[in-house]
């Protein structure tokens, strides 16, 4: 916060004479407003990306007409939703009905406060950052249950109950895994966790104690996807079964708010995962960290979060949906035991002096794995493009 106040004083010299409380308030409010504005505009981009990616994976083009390459499609959708009549079905509990989307949004936006976009670009560097994230992430559950109950609709009630069970169950393995970076780094503050991953790709927490940390990352990412109600965990809003689950009865602006909350939550989970495992705002190589003294940390964190969001979208269009009892099975009988074993294992390894700083092969594994994965992706892409060329040639023949 001192950083923000200092920046404000530099930009607006007239503030120097203002009383202390004005400076403190501005120092807190300005970044929060900036953050909320930026994050609220994010879903426009993410929905466009989702529809385009869905289209391309399904051999079709996706939005194309509204704006160049369909870029204004989400804007058009948002404007349409704003102007739509917000229908209040008969018998709904009006207070809860209106409050539910608000609470879900609050639960989605609050974790942003502690996400570090740079060594000073953080709204509030709480020294219990990880604990705070855990606490506020489950706030959206309350909103979902409220939405399901207030809708006076059996389908919505089903959706609400399912989502409550799902989110609460998947919190537990997530929190267990959260303990591991905290143990390794020795601090709950997200800024410290990022600082411990400085120096390039090989020091990212993803590649410590290989293969234990990648498994932890996978579990955390899976639990995070379940928190966002993304397929394969989208049973609360299972389109083909419950029409739209807990948000069946919402229309117009309220629906837009649920939609926005989902994509914001996706970004939050991705950002937190990148901070914990993928090195936060550090570049894969220190040389790429800044250009002529201008730090690129913000862009690196956004890029990592966007890559994780792409993976979430990729999974959504690949996998079928888990049934609710199978969902519970995965959370309690697969993810939780494995995460507990990991916590104990990493904790034990940290106690042994020989492995205090990780396994001996850790520094090399990072680059190897990254190059292997990206190489495979590029190879498949090239293969697909070659097949496409051959296909076009065959058709013309």
């Amino acid at each position: 916060m001192d950083f923000t106040v200092g920046l404000l004083l530099k930009l607006v010299p007239g503030l120097g004479g203002a009383p202390a409380w004005v400076l403190i308030t501005l120092g807190a409010v300005v970044p929060a407003v900036l953050l909320v504005t930026m994050m609220a505009l994010g879903p426009i981009l993410y929905v466009y990306a989702e529809t385009k990616i869905a289209g391309f994976m399904q051999d079709r083009i996706g939005p194309k007409r509204v704006g160049p390459h369909g870029m204004l499609q989400t804007v058009a959708d948002a404007v349409k939703l704003l102007f739509k009549e917000a229908i209040f079905p008969a018998g709904v509990d009006k207070v809860l009905f209106v409050l539910a989307p608000c609470i879900v949004n609050v639960g989605a936006f609050l974790p942003f406060v502690v996400v570090p976009f740079g060594s000073h670009l953080q709204t509030a560097d709480l020294n219990v950052g990880v604990f705070y994230v855990t606490a506020v992430a489950s706030l959206s559950t309350v909103g979902l249950i409220m939405a399901g109950w207030a809708s006076n609709n059996k389908y919505a009630l089903f959706g609400g109950m399912r989502s409550a069970a799902q989110i609460v169950s998947y919190e537990i393995p997530a929190v267990m895994i959260l303990l591991i970076p905290v143990m390794i780094v020795g601090s709950l503050s997200l800024q410290d966790i990022v600082a411990a991953q400085a120096g390039g790709l090989q020091s990212w927490l993803l590649f410590r104690y290989f293969p234990l940390m990648p498994i932890a990352f996978l579990i955390f990412f899976t639990a995070g996807m379940a928190e966002c109600n993304r397929t394969p965990f989208d049973i609360p809003e299972a389109e083909s079964e419950l029409v739209a689950g807990f948000h069946t009865e919402y229309s117009g602006f309220f629906f837009a708010m649920f939609f926005m909350a989902e994509y914001t939550e996706m970004f939050v989970i991705s950002a937190v995962t990148s901070v914990l495992f993928l090195g936060g705002f550090h570049a894969p190589h220190p040389a790429l960290q800044d250009i002529h003294g201008f730090g690129l940390g913000f862009l690196w964190l956004t890029a990592k979060a966007w890559s994780l969001m792409f993976v979430m979208m990729w999974l959504r269009w690949t996998l079928p949906r888990l049934r609710v009892d199978q969902l519970m099975y995965v959370a309690w009988k697969v993810l939780l035991p494995i995460s507990m074993v990991l916590v104990v294992a990493v904790g034990a390894l940290l106690m042994i002096p020989a492995t205090r700083n990780g396994f001996p092969w850790d520094p090399y594994v990072g680059w190897l794995v990254t190059i292997a994965v990206f190489g495979a992706l590029v190879a498949w892409m090239a293969g697909a493009r070659l097949a496409k060329k051959r296909h076009v040639r065959d058709l013309a023949a």
Partner: protein, 390 residues
């Protein structure tokens, strides 16, 4: 006009509603009920205690219409029953009337009919498997399969001019001969289909552990139950019984071709689960491809014949009745045609629809399932409401 089917109509009184149970209506408008089907579910939380389907929302009086048009004029109506697989419908009717008249079509016409029927089987199973995946939550295989279905429909459009409702199988022949280059185009399509679509479908959908977990062990249909409810087609074969009219009572020259009849093997759970029925459909697509290849080989070797050679100028059968059945993609489709010897209109055309009988077993299987499984069950029975309601 909705009629209720299902056993125990007597023990479902509106008065003794228990408050623990919830009556949920998966109404006529629902994303997953494969048409306008209404299912009344009595659930205890997520578990279904009783299910009662209500049909009749798509009843269009096909059998009554058939009495007021002449025999060839019934064929456009038959197309519209199972609109997803209309070649099969018109083939069944054409075979029935030909039996009545005593006409035997030439091998050339039979081969064309087989090619069209098998292409239609592939197209119909594309819809069945694709929409099933979509109901389970996998949106992508549906679009990949529909892309291939479009290619098949392009072949149909090229041959007879229509994409969905063809009026192709006539009494005594087919309406259009195959165009020049059809064999080459068909082979090219099948090549791509066999090499890319089927393996990708197996990897992306059928082999997916989540899909297996959702469908294996769900809606297990024991063989004796299937037989007693008169299930046929992939629903019966999914329970392990290799009954296929194309092999048991070959018609239309099917005995000239070699193909296997897939049965459910219960590799991921008990035999007769939703997975097995779906699996049978996927393998049937590959088998149909084999049949078409053989039929195309036959066509290349034989000479073109006149497809209108045996088509009678006026269809006026003598007094008589016939029941003829064929293996439609959804099961055994039967036509009972009664001719009274006077006039050019049939006296009565009764259709035994495979989806109707498949729906009749629904209420038995639905007991004790979860709501998500109800969706899986309907999709695995592959019902098309146009055929149930006619």
């Amino acid at each position: 006009m909705a009629s209720a089917i299902g056993s125990g109509a007597a023990d479902w009184k509106l008065d003794d509603l228990e408050t623990d149970e919830m009556v949920l209506n998966m109404g006529p408008q629902h994303p997953s009920t494969h048409g306008v089907l209404r299912i009344e579910l009595k659930t205890d939380g997520e578990v279904v205690k009783a299910a009662r389907p209500h049909i009749g929302y798509l009843h269009r009086c096909f059998e009554k219409h058939a009495e007021s048009v002449d025999y060839p004029g019934v064929i456009p109506y038959t197309d519209r029953m199972d609109y997803v697989a209309s070649m099969g419908n018109s083939l069944g009717y054409a075979l029935a009337v030909e039996k009545l008249l005593g006409i035997e079509t030439s091998p050339y016409v039979s081969t064309i009919r087989v090619i069209m029927a098998e292409l239609q089987r592939i197209a119909s199973h594309c819809v069945a498997v694709g929409t099933y995946g979509m109901d389970i939550g996998a949106f992508t295989p549906f679009l990949h399969l529909l892309r291939d279905r479009e290619k098949i429909l392009d072949l149909f459009e090229w041959t007879c001019g229509a994409r969905l409702l063809y009026n192709y199988n006539w009494v005594g022949g087919v309406s259009h001969d195959l165009p020049e280059g059809f064999v080459k185009a068909c082979r090219q399509f099948l090549r791509e289909y066999d090499a890319i679509t089927i393996p990708e479908l197996m990897d992306l959908l059928i082999g997916n552990k989540i899909f297996i977990k959702r469908t294996a062990g769900v809606g297990v249909l024991p063989v004796d139950l299937a037989i007693s409810y008169d299930l046929t087609g992939p629903n019966l074969r999914g329970s392990g019984l290799p009954r296929d009219l194309r092999k048991d009572h070959p018609y239309c020259g099917y005995d000239r071709f070699e193909f296997a009849v897939p049965v459910g093997r219960g590799e991921h759970g008990p035999v007769g689960s939703c997975f097995d029925r779906n699996w049978v459909r996927c393998i049937e697509m590959a088998e149909s491809s084999k049949i078409i290849h053989q039929a195309l080989d036959l066509l290349e070797k034989s000479e073109r014949a006149d497809v209108h050679e045996k088509v009678p100028k006026r269809v006026k059968p003598a007094k008589g009745e016939v029941y003829s059945r064929s293996e439609a993609p959804r099961g055994q489709l039967g036509y009972y045609v009664v001719a009274d010897g006077t006039g050019v209109n049939p006296y009565r055309v009764k259709v035994k629809s495979p989806c109707f009988t498949a729906m009749s077993v629904f209420h038995v299987l639905a007991k004790g399932m979860m709501i998500a499984d109800i969706i899986a069950l309907i999709g695995s029975l592959d019902v098309v409401l146009g055929e149930i309601d006619r």
